[in-house]
Amino acid sequence: MTIYPFEYFEPKELEEASSAFFEHGSEAAILAGGTDLLNMLKANILKPKVVINIKGVPGLSGIEEIDGELQLGTLTSIHDLETSKIIQENFPALSEAASFLGSIQIRFLATVGGNICRAAPSAETAPPLMAYDAQVYMYGPNGERSLPLKEFFSGPGQTVLAEGEILTKFKLPIPALRSGSAYLRHSIRQLMDLAIVNVAVSLTLDEDSETIKEARIVLGAVAPTPMHASAAEKELIGKPATLEIFEKAAQTAAQESKPISDVRSTQDYRRAMVQLFTRRALEKALPRAAQKN
């Protein structure tokens, strides 16, 4: 619980932040909300020589709708995700996920970029962002680049961020008509607990309002990184949205998941919960899709 001393730097520009980060390499750490970083500093998992606080860098926060896309700054607080009207209306799974992250005290500090960069397999905001096809933007020594979020994670606690690269924003297409989505998570304690399983789903129905046109099922805490249940998604597409097909897709999702046993749960239980919560999430998303036309 003792943080080792470090040098502290508050860049005023993105480029300045990135070049400082590049210069110090693995001896530097980026501070945004700090709720994960301070945990790791206190546990002495990280002992950086330099901490670069990017909170003063302009343009990294905010929630805006631009040209049919939602732009989400990396410094946007989890509390803002939870309470933003645009998000509640268009990306309900994301605000639902935000409401499960830590306590209200943590949600005021923690940022969406931090939650994603921490790359915990159970990260609360990852499944909904992936279910909404989020594109993630990074800025580094070689300028800006972007990737689909699903390609961003490379393992537990690991991302594709290169040296000196800083996550800057997310872009999410505004969901089409007849789209509905939902987020569910299962934990022993309803809140203040890490997910045993978390699931975000998004469904888009055809003009007949019955046939599933598009489907996303993203699972957390049951693989090294948040994952699409791709086979289950495929099973749904082109089918009528019925409880039977949801149950079948849920079974497939459970088979696809790669859970482990750890201090929080067992492999078998996690797999059973993938099935249950995938089904429950699909059941929750369907009426929302039916409403949005």
Partner: protein
């Protein structure tokens, strides 16, 4: 008691409330002294290892480090909570030859700030020879298991100093490898009674290690004054007990060790023991000549400040056709961890929480505590009661089903009544068990919710959610013999009519400062606002048994009532002269002394005090004391269970109503109906707070809480992964005290703060069974276990009892 009470029995605001809502209440961690250093402890990373060498030279050289100590500095300091002729102390403040669990204390440093202290720990080089370790008590008892305490511990014990006889400690069973304690209690003729039983069941139950989770982490501030006094601010539960042990360990006269008052941020048993960090703070202060503060991290609190003992319980019970328990054979094995902690006590207590509840005339009880290489066990709210009551009342529920009887009805056939004498000689001068069970059944709508025999559980199904109810009972002592074996109080009067209570009691949330002040106000006939309290400082306060063993209300309360009565007697004697009336003719009410029925012949308490000072110089100071177990001189035997133990028992019964999600296996406690016999509730709001807290802890330990180990390493030493209940888990609570009066207690009061936690566990387990027909016999009742059990159910949901 026909006089109407004016202060006692009222839900008056706590006297410590203002300080606590404004942030002014001072806890140990808030004590900051000029020149204070910060201490940290180097702990063993190995569950079992021999220390070959410790090199502190680099640490000592670090700028800002003022003191480093190791086992060499503590080699004559053998001590422990259990230190009896049979079980001599087995622990040192810093490890001598070996470390016995991950977290065992190896060295300590004091430095100018926490960062430097941490850096110094990193520089201490310890050479370990890693030894094979053992974590399971049954494995540890095998002859070829590693022996954790190599040599038989020799030497005198503190109990001998307190007058216990020097008995020979050898016992054939002690030859069993790693056995740290053994209790065998027999009465009646169990075999014969089993032979006569209509129905016999044998079951095994297991409970997990759980943590106290007081929100205040343990801390110590020590300041050695060169004039020879050691000043201490400690997270403790009894200032006189800690002073005694610290004076022994530090080889100082008891009166030269001074514990100062601090508020305690919750304790629940976890702050009773004297811990190595406290001794290290004192030693480092002595060594450096400066005040030293040591604050444990939350991780250290989880691993090194005692846990509830993981326990294995085998019970064989024989009952008659009409549900009377005829015979019981109980075997318990506790995983003691690397040191005894209170292992030999808890195996005695398991029986202690059994005898007062159900009338079992034929009993064979065997308890064994076993050293292993996990963290050490100790007292925790209920000290053994949660484990044994979980087992006994789970099994009672099973037996009731076997013989086709309602479990509440079966309880009523077996519960003890007022006036009964227990096998150890304790007498139940108050016992409201029947009322507790009856009223809990009634208020919870038990009969309706339980459903008629033969009815289908599925009728209560709502989607995947099924409801069920379960019942359990328990008991708790009201003080037991332990140093200093008594409490005393002083009440001094002021010339404005107010009174100051001086007590050694420790306020750790239980409300003692408030309820004891209420006793003084009631006895003196003044308002609570006119009582000041000075408490928790060994230099100022008379002895106190401490706020453990649940004797605060009964023992300390009785002493303080006597002190107030003594002050009142003196006051009335002076007033009788002044008012020219007999003492017997005087009454005090609202701070005024009057001749009965003569409102014209009155004077205020303040005027009486003034008059007394003017006349004789006596400001009027009353004192009172109460010995635990008045009239007995022998101590109870931990090994045999003989000997009286307490003056009064509290009792409780609870009906838990749960919802089980049959798809996830998750159990939610929705309603807890609790009736308790605490005698006269001194302050009903404080009593209610104690009950709510116990229900919450019981609920947590029934459903979520468990310290998880891997090869002796605690895997979840954080509030994130060790899940105590949060606001969202709070059930609806119902129930209140039953009518009862305990003659030993002040105004009829007895224990309430500890016992209630115990019966929540079986009540929930039985409710889960009632709901979905699965019996979980290992705590906690996790969703995984329930779901697995549901899947194992070959048949569709059970058809009731």
């Amino acid at each position: 008691m026909t006089t109407e009470l004016k202060v006692v029995g009222k839900s008056l605001p706590r006297v410590d409330a203002y300080a606590k809502v404004t942030g002014q209440a001072e806890f140990t961690m808030d004590v900051n002294l000029p020149g204070m250093l910060y201490g940290k402890i180097l702990r063993s990373p190995h569950p079992h290892a021999r220390i070959k060498n410790i090199d502190t030279s680099e640490a000592e050289k670090l700028n800002g480090v003022l003191g480093v100590i190791t086992g060499k500095d503590t080699k004559d300091m053998r001590y422990a909570f259990v230190d009896t002729p049979r079980y001599p102390a087995d622990q040192y403040p810093l490890a001598q030859d070996k470390v016995r669990y991950i977290g065992d204390e190896v060295a300590a440093v004091a430095a100018v700030n926490p960062e430097t202290a941490q850096a110094a720990l990193d520089l201490i080089k310890v050479e370990y020879e890693i030894l094979p370790a053992v974590f399971d008590p049954y494995e540890a008892m095998k002859p070829d298991a590693p022996t954790i305490h190599d040599a038989e511990i020799q030497g005198d014990s503190i109990w001998e100093e307190w007058g216990a006889e020097k008995t020979k400690k050898s016992d054939a069973n002690e030859k069993v490898n790693n056995v740290s304690g053994r209790t065998v209690i027999t009465y009646g003729d169990p075999d014969k009674a089993f032979a006569e039983s209509h129905h016999i069941r044998e079951d095994r139950f297991e409970t997990a290690a759980t943590a106290h989770c007081a929100l205040e982490p343990h801390a110590a501030v020590a300041h050695y004054d060169p004039a020879g006094q050691m000043h201490l601010w400690l997270s403790g539960m009894g200032i006189y007990y800690k002073r005694y042990v610290l004076s022994k360990v530090l080889e100082m006269p008891t009166s030269q060790v001074r514990l100062h008052k601090v508020y305690i941020g919750g304790a629940f048993g976890g702050k009773m023991d004297v811990y190595p960090y406290e001794i290290c703070a004192a030693l480092l202060s002595k060594k450096t000549g400066r005040p030293v503060k040591i604050e444990l991290t939350r991780g250290e609190v989880f691993t090194t400040t005692r846990l509830r003992f993981p326990t294995y319980i085998d019970i064989k019970t024989g009952v008659s056709k009409d549900g009377k328990i005829l015979s019981q054979h109980i075997r318990t094995v506790v995983n003691n961890g690397g040191y005894r902690g209170t292992g030999p006590v808890v195996i005695y207590l398991f029986h202690g929480w059994t005898a007062p509840v159900y009338r079992v005339k034929n009993m064979r009880y065997e308890g064994i505590s076993v050293w292993t290489n996990i963290p050490v066990g100790g007292p925790q709210r209920g000290h053994g009661a949660p484990q044994i009551r979980f087992a006994i009342d789970s099994q009672l529920d099973m037996i009731a089903e076997d013989i086709g009887m309602d479990p509440a009805e079966m309880m009523l056939k077996n519960v003890r009544k007022i006036g009964e004498t227990l096998p150890n000689g304790d007498v139940l001068n108050s016992c409201g068990l029947i009322d507790c069970v009856t009223q809990a059944v009634e208020l919870s709508d038990w009969k309706e919710k339980r459903g008629a025999p033969g009815s289908d559980r599925t009728e209560r199904k709502n989607g995947s959610i099924v409801r069920g109810v379960g019942i359990s009972t328990t008991t708790m002592i009201s003080g037991a013999p332990y140093y200093p074996f008594a409490s005393a109080g002083i009440v001094k009067l002021h010339d404005d009519g107010a009174a100051t209570l001086i007590s050694g009691v420790v306020e750790m949330g239980q409300g003692a400062e408030t309820t004891l002040s209420q006793i003084v106000a009631e006895e003196l006939g003044i308002s609570l606002d006119d009582v000041r309290i000075v408490a928790g400082d060994t230099e100022q306060s008379p002895i106190d048994m401490g706020s453990f063993l649940s004797g605060g209300a009964t023992v300390t309360g009785a002493a303080i009532r006597l002190a107030a009565a003594d002050a009142k007697r003196q006051l009335l004697e002076v007033a009788s002269e002044r008012l020219d009336a007999m003492v017997e003719e005087l009454d005090i009410s609202d701070g005024i002394v009057c001749v009965r029925d003569r409102p014209d012949r009155c004077m205020s308490i303040g005027d009486v005090v003034n008059y007394s000072v003017k006349k004789t110089g006596d400001p009027i100071i009353g004192h009172g004391s109460r010995k635990i177990l008045s009239g007995t001189s022998r101590y109870p035997s931990l090994a045999k269970g003989t000997g009286r133990w307490t003056d009064a028992y509290g009792f409780n019964a609870q009906v838990a109503e749960v919802e089980v999600d049959t798809e996830t296996g998750q159990v939610k406690l929705v309603r807890a109906t609790t009736f308790h016999d605490c005698g006269t509730p001194l302050n009903p709001q404080i009593v209610a707070g104690q009950v709510h807290g116990c229900v919450s802890t019981g609920q947590g330990q029934a459903l979520m809480e468990e310290i998880v180990y891997d090869d002796g390493r605690v895997l979840n030493p954080t509030f994130q992964d060790y899940r105590l209940p949060i606001t969202l888990d709070t059930p609806e609570t119902a129930g209140t005290e039953v009518e009862s009066f305990e003659p030993a207690g002040p105004f009829g009061a007895k224990e309430v703060g500890e016992g209630v936690v115990a019966q929540t566990l079986a009540a929930i387990a039985n409710a889960v069974y009632d709901a979905v027909g699965v019996r979980i016999t290992t705590l906690p009742i996790t969703p995984q276990k329930v779901l697995a059990a549901l899947e194992n159910q070959k048949k569709p949901p059970k058809n009731n009892k």
